[in-house]
Symmetry: D2
Subunit: 328 residues, 4 copies
């Protein structure tokens, strides 16, 4: 027999990403649509432990679909990793009458939800929100598409000045474990080389490639470097290496940093967030638990949270070839 | 026995869309990569008939990946619809040694290519370039994703002033035959109602919905209307109808118009264009002809041109539901 | 002896413009800085009559500096034009203890403030908020700079498609009485001709100019038309006229409409709004009344409200020459 | 007796800035308008020495008004600092028949022009192109307004994530010698503190101010730091200091870097560039030499190059007060 859900909690957890607000709005309005109460939980698990709750109705989420960041704030919680912390959180949920929740976040946030759900039997659903697109079970995480555009626009600007001065730029973009951002913005911004965690180009081949690029008549070059690139060098170290081994270029460095996480979400991310929120709430209503909502072949699909956490998001190898051909 | 291809022509045809330049660049560089000559044909079939050609190498397409419009210009050609016109075009191709071509455009352009290929046996490949996403055989046409962002950003601006004055706006967006743009930007911009060619909401239900929306406490409302909406009324007629039947709102109208076709392509469109250009050229090299390159489930896929032309691109019905729920 | 001001009201009135929120924020924080209470009045004079007030402190205006529109909403009030309406408004102000106010708006709003101040002796200060820049006593009104960028970006997009198809576009921009926007975006977007309220080019000279433009090798043309252009033709009529009298161009029309009023304010408008808010509050504190805060030669300056209302904002004739030279 | 000018050279020199292309376009078209030949000189003085010239007419500069960077490229030339280098440059100019030139750049570029003009009697005019606004004799340098918007938009994005996590960000913006950018974007982005070269806040007062800011209920804080801030600490050192002395915040750092130099120019910069180009060419025609074209009180004005180089661009002290009040 299904436990009928009467009140759903929603929160954002871990690093924020564009589209989180649109997802919150969708969860809240999906609840309203199905006559379920909805409670916003501030600052993720931290706020759950503290009972930092706010009742939300359809109007509470007005005007946030196009805002970056998260109106519910986000945090990482050490206390929730302890059994005591989770007990406190559970007590607060019970006290508030919350009998299921939707967590918007990444791997770490999902792991917390799984453990909590196992311990206390509360139904949970995950919505993947991170710009890194590093989550298994969805072709796109919330914020990823927006981040691609943010980064490409920033590199377009850097290209202006690179071209004017015949310079070589090493540009660091986010992506500690996977190269999705680097690979796509590298192609999108017309980078000469792309350094990602999945592939070790090697410094010699990098220098060789840059030399060939110069000889082919290119006046400037952009190398996009994921934070976690396999070569294992920071953009500053790469600059030093090239300075020491090539005289052809004047080298500059740019670390795009946290601006990649912000900004108004793209249309794609807003629609995706809206779809995911509906799917998450309706899955809870139909008795499902411990799944992550994802996009697979343009269709909403559920992946068990443990698979989402254990699985690995893989880059599209076709893109590596395309990048090679484009940088001829 | 395969006819070995030595020189490929490329052109844009019909309405332009963001990403066409990125696709031209990709075709040109893919040719360079495979040691095939590449010739740009200006103004579509019109320029083919006139022999308005330009030899292109990897450097010719430098700095265009992020530019809207098309450096090869575009046009619609009446003459090409005649047998004489096509004969002239063929003679010019032969004269220039072009033995295959890639056409970037929509339905009409593909039909021309098919007929031409049947008559003269020249291998052709199509790349779908139009903001309307109205082509069968690909989940995304070039420029569609960019247009979604352009429109959503414009509506965000209109929302600012709508909210400040408690107004109702009817906003016309592109989409004569399919409601993809209207449906997605409607969700993305938080529209109260979306009028599309595929569904007849009816004027009475529209008014009723707007009335309910006002009662629920919304201070402003946006109705997104596709050019070819099923109700069959222009945004100006809709305004008149609402003015005559509702006193709750001050009504305004906006026709977004041609700005929807322009602008720097999104990262998604740049990457898609790059992939499509590679696929088109490599398909020609391997002896294929009369196909359109498309994206299916995030993978490059070929669709016979006649199917691409005859088939119908369908909207995602899930989105209609999501839109209803979101506008509660 | 000066009446010491203890509580200042602030509201936005008339058409909204980007930067109004930044100005509200500045008024509120300037009050907080000087230990004066601040009250937000919703929907301009309408809300004043209804006593739709909200106490505001420094934190109330958090996160609004970069938002378009106005959090205090705006409206036009017929009732305030009557003596009875103003009496009601005065009673509400007295009831709330508001002893001075800052009105952010245009000519009509300032006229209302002047009359009210004369009748009831309440000190008032005006901040010019309108995208049209049509107010005497300030080189820039709030929102004008943002609107210029919004329009130029929209025309850049239209230019993409105009160039791709060798088209002529008539683009209507805001400006019923003055040509500031048309003149500046015309130059900024590289328009071939600019039609403004201040100058009658004449249809014959327009056609002649477009013909010359075509002959000089231009592939596309943009004509920017202010709403109140002197020729007295709408962009649709202009299209018809050119269609009937020129065969050189394929003509298209675009009316940019209300999106021009929205959007996140430019840095210039945010800084200007911040400066104006400080100046308005500190002027009230020092006993001044019935002035408009303005920017003159990059310095804050006060203009008596009656002069601001009666005076005429003039276009810079140098720009007409620059435009002529640029469109060679 | 005036030397009649028949051929004008134009080039960009030093760091590039948005609006340089618009200025090149204006110089070229102003020459065309006055029937004077125009020659583009590539890579500044370096290209002058090498005779890297290109004849330009009104059509050569089509489609560049909205592009960042400079189509004529830019460079710094060591050789031009030597008498031999300048002799070579002069010979090349004579050879090409160039009898005057317009240099678009900053202090260093103007100094070169002055020395060259003194040595060889060739008339020169300067157009101030740099994002830093650090040049005496003009209220705005080309690119400054665009950079303000670029930076404010980047900080808006960072603010999204800062607010979501209750973080403190130190953001480094350009400005080695003057704080114009930092001061304006600091106000525009709602920064809590602004560190500039002109004023030494002191570390203690910074910490105190941040502490107060936290206590007043602010959830996040932005400190904008000019490259050449008076405290003399990099954003990384500032982070370390605050980490060591405050526990209230989680601190992050962002260096905006070279993206600040690029991007499509704002409407203001496009119009300014157009006006400056006209003024520069017409000043040369009327026999003037050794001046910089500038904007003073919204009017074009000439400043002798030596004054432009020696003078100091001062920040507006009013803005310091406004910033203090806004961050209450």
């Amino acid at each position: 027999m299904l436990h009928t859900i009467k009140k759903i909690g929603v929160f954002t957890s871990g690093g924020d990403s564009p589209g989180m607000n649109a997802a919150i709005r969708s969860v809240v309005r999906s609840c309203a649509f199905h006559d379920i109460e909805c409670v916003g939980i501030y600052r993720g698990y931290e706020g759950m432990i503290e009972g930092d709750f706010k009742s939300m109705n359809a109007r509470s989420v007005k005007g946030i679909i196009n805002k970056g960041g998260t109106v519910l704030k986000s945090a990482r919680s050490k206390e929730f990793r302890t059994a005591e912390g989770r007990k406190k959180a559970y007590d607060k949920l019970v006290e508030a009458g919350i009998d299921a929740f939707v967590v918007i976040g990444g791997d770490g946030s999902f792991t917390g939800a799984m453990i909590f759900s196992q311990e206390y039997g509360i139904p949970v659903m995950g919505i993947p929100g991170t710009i890194d697109n590093d989550i298994f079970g969805t072709s796109h995480t919330l914020g990823y598409d927006t981040a691609l555009n943010t980064v490409v626009e920033a590199i377009d600007k850097i290209r202006d000045t690179a071209s004017s001065h015949n310079r070589l730029f090493f540009i660091e973009v986010m992506g500690r474990d996977v190269g999705h951002i680097a690979l796509n913005v590298g192609i999108g911004a017309g980078a000469e080389e792309i350094l990602i965690p999945e592939e070790d180009l090697g410094l010699d081949r990098l220098v060789e490639s840059l030399r060939r690029s110069k000889q082919s008549g290119k006046s400037s070059s952009i190398v996009v470097v994921a934070e976690g690139d396999k070569i294992g060098k920071s953009v500053f170290e790469l600059k030093d290496y090239v300075d020491a081994n090539m005289s052809e270029y004047e080298v500059r460095v740019s670390v795009l940093g946290h601006m990649q996480r912000g900004g108004s979400p793209s249309c794609f991310d807003r629609v995706l967030a809206s779809r995911m929120g509906v799917k998450a709430v309706e899955s809870l209503i139909t008795g499902k638990s411990n799944y992550m909502v994802g996009l697979k072949n343009d269709v909403m699909a559920l992946t068990p949270l443990d698979q989402a956490v254990k699985g690995k998001s893989k880059i599209n190898l076709e893109l590596l070839r395309v990048s090679d051909i484009m940088s001829i």
